[in-house]
Structures are given as structure tokens and as C-alpha cells.
């Protein structure tokens, strides 16, 4: 595919992610941070996010799987996930975390498990989307083009 097309695709795809709420303004901030000295900044940060989140999600699963659930711990973990997802602009993940914390407060195990499931889902979705986005970027670069900035 030629560069122009790739770039167009890229722009459209990015826009859709914003429209659908997968990403928010914070992601743009990240993109703006990227510069010549850190050309892969966004990819690096997002990769870090993936790593960290997967750990957190595993931890959460374990914590909620205990006979006596430590809700404080759950809350702390969800809080952290909320923080990191909001930092990279993964809006839907962040929102899912907010709901999750409410159930933690109530110590509602059902609610928590549901939320965990939801968070995991949102996480998978955004992960896929971002990976697709990065692939597009790579393709553009490979084809010799520049990554367009999306408003």
C-alpha cells in the first residue's frame, strides 16, 4: 500500500479510537511528547503500560480469588491501574476502573468480579487497537512516509 493511503488509514483509525472513547486527550499529550530524541516514546510507554497492566490484572484476579478478599488491596491495585491507564489515555479502561473501585468500597464481590471482567475486556480491546495503530505507523515509516499528526 502506498504511503498516502497508509497515512489516511492511520488518521482515520486514530480518529475512530478517539470517537469511540478508547483513547482520550492524554494520548495526544503522549504523542506530542515524542520527538527526535525519543522517536519511539509512545510505543515505549504503551508497552510499559501493557506489561504493567497485565501484571496488575493477574494480581487482581488472584486477590479476588481468595477466600477472604482483601478489598483494600484490590482497591489499591485498581487505583493504580486507573492511574496508569489514565496516564496513557486509555479512557475506557480508566472508566471501568472507576466503577470497580465503587464495588470495592462496598466490598461487593460480585460487583468486583464483574468489574474485573469488564476491565480486562476493555484492556484487551485497547491493547489490540493500539497495536494495530502502531503497526500502521510502522508501515508508514517503512513505506518512507511520516506519521501524520491527528488533531
Amino acid at each position: 500500500m502506498e504511503v498516502g493511503q497508509l497515512q489516511e488509514r492511520f488518521v482515520d483509525y486514530t480518529k475512530s479510537l478517539f470517537c469511540e472513547g478508547f483513547l482520550d486527550d492524554q494520548f495526544l499529550q503522549l504523542q506530542q511528547l515524542q520527538d527526535e530524541s525519543n522517536p519511539d516514546f509512545v510505543v515505549e510507554v504503551v508497552s510499559l503500560f501493557f506489561e504493567d497492566s497485565e501484571k496488575l490484572l493477574n494480581d487482581l484476579t488472584k486477590t479476588l480469588d481468595q477466600q477472604f478478599v482483601d478489598y483494600k488491596r484490590v482497591d489499591a491495585q485498581v487505583h493504580q491501574l486507573k492511574g496508569s491507564s489514565s496516564s496513557i489515555g486509555a479512557q475506557r479502561v480508566k472508566n471501568a476502573c472507576i466503577g470497580f473501585r465503587n464495588f470495592c468500597e462496598e466490598q461487593n464481590i460480585e460487583g468486583c468480579l464483574r468489574c474485573l471482567h469488564q476491565v480486562k475486556q476493555e484492556y484487551s480491546l485497547v491493547k489490540n487497537k493500539l497495536q494495530t495503530l502502531f503497526r500502521l505507523e510502522q508501515q508508514i515509516v517503512a513505506a518512507g512516509g511520516a506519521i501524520p499528526m491527528v488533531e
Partner: protein
């Protein structure tokens, strides 16, 4: 620094270069570029993003993901950072604790961050002294203006220094930060603050040419702190307002702002102690309260953990000196606060011999004098002496501490002696606490000392001592130039150089004679000294003996004290340098092995120690056993302890409890 390079290593190194702004009025062409920021967050994603954002703002960024690492970085590089940004929720240490520690020890502006934007959390940030609160996700715009906090603080300092700061100025200056605190970081402009800042700037500039120079922070020396404590005590903690305190202190060059900020720290410290005293599990907790971690940091004196009320003391001290409120960092505060603890001048003995020594220390002791401690003059004197011996323990601290004393005492008390001792031994807690609070509060040391002494809380005494020691260390380090053996105690084991020169010395001398109460503390102190820093320990010992039990000791412990002192001093002498060591040594039961910098300590902290001693004494005189045990353990000088114990009639068992390690009073020919 590699601004663009994505390097994550701390790039502190540029001492003056990039932070040229610091030197002048704080504003140079480059400013705020090169602002040295330390960012702490356990979330790696956020940390990376923040770092990049800060780099993009042309700041020099150092990142770390653990609060403890951050604290040690800050401690190692006292002036290596301009501002700290920290997350609230961290696994190893609560962000607010870190905030307090930094505030007390290093007096740096700290910005808190969290995804949590609940009013309570933000309020907590405010009450703990954060200069701003950012809600995550943080935007780069929010970070662009963080330099204002640095400038604001500097301006306050300048004003403090200038003494031109009339109340209005001070108030005005004080205001902005408060405003800033309240306004969330969302106010990027913070127009109010900027406006104020601008006004202040103008004023500062008009006022004094030198204002363009970067004025050093007010160093709350032992003497100063003791004076402060005295003033606060005189006024009553509730009524102590900066203006009145300033008047009472009557220190030229000190501004209301200086006093106000110091008072704030002191209050925090007191709050912490009182809250903590309940559950002092080994000083650490109590003193530092929740922040065990902090304790750790405070007691960095030499590793001594002066958990003691030191926490508060330490905090205070830290605040004053430079913050080593954390446990481990007692040394820190102490060092800075060296002055605080005037134990430096280890008054070797009860009296005469020491007197001279004390005189050296007297400086420190003097501080004590000034401070309206609870103790009688004699006690004070004793304290001073001891303080001096201690190498500058800030007896003064004690004086201040009438309040603190009680607090400390309480702290000491509640804690099981063993705990205390253990604490002391193990964790420098005392140190930290001592270091910190002592310095700043002056009470701390006093309290500690007192506690140790008079109260059952031998341990407490110990603590104070240790703290004092630590304080001493600090103070000593500060520069009191202890030649190295400021322990007058014991006559000279090099103690003579104990610094408490300034004020404590005199005070100590007088005090030590009569203060029975000190005995216990003395013991503790001595032990502490002995144990810890060899010199230190002896210093303390000497001090204790001197101060409090001059009379008592004479009979039985005459030798001991001196011996102890000697020990302490000798060690002190040995090091001569490690002021901090002193503090640490004494307190760090074992941790630090008596750096032997006693001399250093003696320089300053004696006053604090003395204070502590005095205070302790005042409180509970018969608690000598406490320190007896402490000493006994530490020093291994059972006899000394027993002497004390006998005197006290207390629990000999304490000895075992306190395990001051480190210092062995073996030499003491008790």
C-alpha cells in the same frame, strides 16, 4: 544533563551550572530550565511519562519508583534537588510521609500527585505541607509551572534572611504558598501566587541588594532551635505565634517567616509525636509515627535510627537542618541540626572538670538556658552539660520541648523500655527522632533526655540521647567544629571538644550538677554514646551523668560517667569528624558503630541533648533505670547501668532491654 536524551538517570550533578538561576535572585535567563526535579512514583508508566514531560520542560529530572530510594537520594545530595514530585499512593511508603520527611529534612517544595482527586486527599496534601497537588493524568502544562514553587520558597527564605521582612512581608509571603496549596495544579497560572510572588520579588529587590543573592536557608542551629523551643514553651504551644516567638527569641536576622515555617514543622513534629507516642513500637513508630520509613531515613545519622521522639525531633530537626526526619536520617537532621543537640560538649563529669568542658559546650548549653525548659536551671545545666558531653545533643531541644518533652516522654514511656532500647539499638530510631525533632524542637532532645532520665522510659531517654546523639552528630557536623572530643564528660577523653560549645556548655555544666533526673538520661546518653559512636556514647554518658546526676552519680557513678564520657569522647575524638556519627553512634545501637565522630556532635547538639536530658529529667527523674539499661546494654557496662539503676532504684532489667549496641562502655571503670 541530558535533557532530551531520555535518560533516566538522575542527573543531579550539575552543581551550579544548569541551575544558574539559583544563584541570583533565582531568575536567570536559563531559569527555569535546569530545575532539578526528583519525581517519585511506583507506576512505571506514569513515571516514564512524567520524566519525559519534565525533560521537555527542560528540567533536570531524576526519577525513582520507591520512596525510600528517593529519600536516600535526597539525603545524599543535600542540595541536589530543587523540587520533588511524588505520588500519593505508593506501596513502600505513603506519599504523605515522604512529603513530611522531605519537608522537614530538606525543606524542599513537594508536589503531590494522584489519580485520586477527592477533596480529602487533596486536603491531606495541604495539611502535610505539599506546595501543590496534581491530579493524574498530569499534563505537561501543569508541569511547566512547577518552578514557581521553588522560587516562592526561595523568596521566603530570602526574606527571612533579610530580616526586612516585616510581618507583612512575611505574611504576604506566607500567603502565596498557602494559596498555592489550595489551588490545585489545575491553576497553571496561579495568578494569585504569581502576583504575590511578583510583589515579593519587587519588595525583596528593593529592600536589599543582597536579595538578589541566593540566601541560604536559615539554619536552625541547636541554639536557635532551643531558643525557639524556649520561646514556644514560654508562650504555650497554643499561643505560640510566629511573631511572638520571634520577639521572644530576639535573634537578629531571623524573620517571622523563618519562625513561622519552623513552627509549622515543629507542630507537625509534635503532632506526630503525640499521635505516635501511643504506639511506639520501638521508637520508630512513635517518633516517626507512621513513617517508619521516615525514621529510617532520619536515623541516617550514621545509620542510627533514632526513632525516638526523634521522629518528631528528627523531623523538626530535619526540617530545621535539612531534614532527616526519617529514622535513618537522624544523622541528617542532626547534622544540620547539630546545633540543636548540644550534646556535643560532653560534659565529662559532673561537674567541675566538665565545667570547662562544658564551657565549651556551654554554647550549647546556653541554649538551654535560654530555653524555658521544665527543668530547673540546675537540671538544665546538667542537661547542658550532658548535652555538651553528648556532643551537642540538643538539650535545647529539650527545653523547647517542654511540650515535646512530655510528648517524648510519653513516647518513651509508653514504649516498653526494651523496645526503646531495642529500638535505639537497632534502629537508630532514636536517632532519627532525636535528630530531627530534637533539633527543631529542641524539645525533642529534651524530652528524650528527660524521658530517658527521669522517666521510666529509660529507653526514652535513650532515645533522646540517641537522638541527641544523632542530633549531636548533626550538629556536630554542622560545623560546630568539635575538635573531636567535645565530650567534656569524663573529663577529657577527648570529649573536651564536645561542641556544645556554645551554649550548652555552660548550661550543661550547671545543670548537670544538680540534675538528678538526668541520671537516667545520662545513662542513656552515655550509653548511647558509648554504644554508638564510641565517643558519642561516652559523651552521652558523661552528659547524663553530669547533668542529671551529678549528685547522684557522684557517689556511685562518678567514675562511670566520666568513664562513659570518656568512652564517648574517645570515640568522638577518634572520629572527630563524624559529628553525625556521634549522634548516630550513640543511638544506633549497633547500627553504626560509633563513628566516633563524637567530636562533631559535641559541637552542637549538646544543647539538644541536654535539653532532652533536662527535660527528661524533669519529667521523670527516676527513670534512670531506663537509660541505665540502655547504657548497660550498649555499653556493656553493666556497672554503669547498675549504678544508675541503683540510683534510680529502677529496673535493672531495662538494661537488657536496651540493647544499645555499638557502644561499649567497657572502658568505663565503673
Amino acid at each position: 544533563m541530558n535533557l532530551g536524551g531520555g535518560e533516566t538517570v538522575k542527573s543531579m550533578s550539575m552543581p551550579n551550572s544548569s541551575v544558574s538561576w539559583k544563584s541570583g535572585d533565582g531568575v536567570t535567563d536559563q531559569f527555569p530550565a535546569g530545575l532539578r526535579v526528583l519525581v517519585v512514583d511506583d507506576d512505571p508508566t506514569c513515571l516514564m511519562i512524567l520524566e519525559k514531560m519534565l525533560r521537555n520542560c527542560l528540567y533536570e529530572v531524576t526519577k525513582c519508583n520507591r520512596a525510600e530510594i528517593a529519600l536516600s537520594l535526597l539525603r545524599e545530595n543535600k542540595n541536589g534537588f530543587d523540587i520533588v514530585i511524588s505520588d500519593v499512593h505508593m506501596p513502600d511508603m505513603d506519599g504523605f510521609k515522604l512529603l513530611e520527611c522531605v519537608g522537614l529534612e530538606m525543606d524542599l517544595p513537594v508536589i503531590m500527585m494522584s489519580a485520586d482527586d477527592g477533596k480529602n486527599v487533596v486536603m491531606k496534601g495541604v495539611t502535610h505541607g505539599a506546595c501543590d497537588y496534581l491530579i493524574k493524568p498530569v499534563r505537561i502544562e501543569a508541569l511547566k509551572n512547577i518552578w514557581q514553587h521553588v522560587v516562592r520558597r526561595k523568596k521566603h527564605e530570602w526574606k527571612d534572611f533579610e530580616q526586612t521582612g516585616s510581618v507583612e512581608d512575611g505574611e504576604r509571603q506566607q500567603k502565596p504558598p498557602e494559596d498555592a496549596d489550595y489551588s490545585s495544579s489545575a491553576n497553571e497560572g496561579n495568578w494569585r501566587n504569581s502576583k504575590k510572588r511578583k510583589d515579593e520579588e519587587e519588595e525583596a529587590e528593593e529592600r536589599d541588594d543582597t536579595s538578589t543573592l541566593k540566601k541560604p536557608r536559615v539554619v536552625w542551629s541547636v541554639e536557635l532551635h532551643q531558643q525557639f523551643v524556649a520561646a514556644v514553651n514560654q508562650l504555650g504551644i497554643d499561643k505560640a505565634v510566629p511573631k511572638k516567638i520571634l520577639e521572644l527569641m530576639n535573634v537578629p536576622g531571623l524573620t517571622r517567616e523563618n519562625v513561622a515555617s519552623h513552627l509549622q514543622k515543629y507542630r507537625l513534629y509534635l503532632r506526630r509525636i503525640s499521635g505516635v507516642s501511643q504506639h511506639q513500637s520501638g521508637f520508630n513508630n512513635s517518633f516517626m509515627g507512621p513513617s517508619d520509613a521516615t525514621f529510617g531515613s532520619i536515623s541516617s545519622l550514621s545509620g542510627l535510627d533514632m526513632q525516638l521522639p526523634a521522629q518528631s525531633l528528627a523531623t523538626l530537626q530535619a526540617a530545621v537542618l535539612g531534614r532527616s526526619t526519617t529514622k535513618s536520617s537522624i544523622s541528617m537532621p542532626l547534622v544540620d541540626q547539630r546545633n540543636l543537640f548540644s550534646f556535643e560538649t560532653p560534659k565529662p563529669r559532673f561537674g567541675e572538670g566538665q565545667q570547662q568542658q562544658l564551657s565549651n559546650n556551654s554554647k550549647q548549653i546556653n541554649l538551654l538556658h535560654g530555653i524555658p525548659t521544665n527543668m530547673e536551671p540546675k537540671q538544665l545545666a546538667n542537661l547542658h552539660q550532658s548535652a555538651q558531653s553528648f556532643g551537642g545533643m540538643n538539650m535545647q531541644v529539650n527545653s523547647h520541648g517542654s511540650q515535646s518533652n512530655s510528648l517524648l516522654v510519653q513516647m518513651a514511656q509508653p514504649e516498653s523500655r526494651s523496645q526503646m532500647l531495642n529500638e535505639i539499638n537497632g534502629s537508630h530510631r532514636i536517632q532519627s527522632s532525636m535528630g530531627q525533632p530534637i533539633m527543631s524542637n529542641g524539645c525533642a532532645s529534651g524530652v528524650l533526655a528527660r524521658n530517658g532520665m527521669a522517666n521510666n522510659a529509660r529507653g526514652t531517654l535513650y532515645n533522646p540521647l540517641s537522638q541527641a546523639s544523632s542530633v549531636l552528630d548533626f550538629s556536630v557536623n554542622h560545623g560546630t567544629d568539635l575538635p573531636g572530643s567535645s565530650f567534656p564528660i569524663g573529663g577529657n577523653a577527648g570529649i573536651s571538644s564536645l561542641p556544645s560549645k556554645e551554649m550548652l556548655h555552660e548550661d550543661v555544666i550547671s545543670e548537670t550538677k544538680g540534675t538528678r533526673g538526668f541520671l537516667p538520661s545520662y545513662d542513656v546518653l552515655s550509653e548511647l554514646h558509648q554504644q554508638k559512636s564510641q565517643v558519642w556514647g561516652s559523651q552521652n554518658v558523661g552528659l547524663t551523668y553530669e547533668t542529671s546526676h551529678h549528685a547522684n552519680m557522684r557517689g556511685s557513678c562518678d567514675v562511670s560517667p566520666s568513664v562513659i564520657v570518656q568512652q564517648g569522647f574517645s570515640s568522638i575524638q577518634n572520629n572527630g569528624q563524624n559529628r553525625s556519627a556521634m549522634g548516630k553512634a550513640v543511638f544506633s545501637s549497633g547500627q553504626e558503630s560509633a563513628h566516633g565522630n563524637v567530636p562533631n556532635i559535641s559541637q552542637q547538639p549538646n544543647t539538644f541533648l541536654l535539653d532532652n536530658l533536662l527535660m527528661v529529667k524533669a519529667e521523670r527523674f527516676p527513670d534512670a533505670s531506663y537509660h541505665n539499661t540502655i547504657f548497660a546494654e550498649q555499653l556493656g557496662q553493666e556497672d554503669l547501668m547498675s549504678v544508675f539503676l541503683k540510683q534510680q532504684g529502677d529496673t535493672g532489667s531495662v538494661e537488657s532491654e536496651f540493647g544499645f549496641d555499638g557502644h561499649h562502655l567497657d572502658n568505663l571503670p565503673v
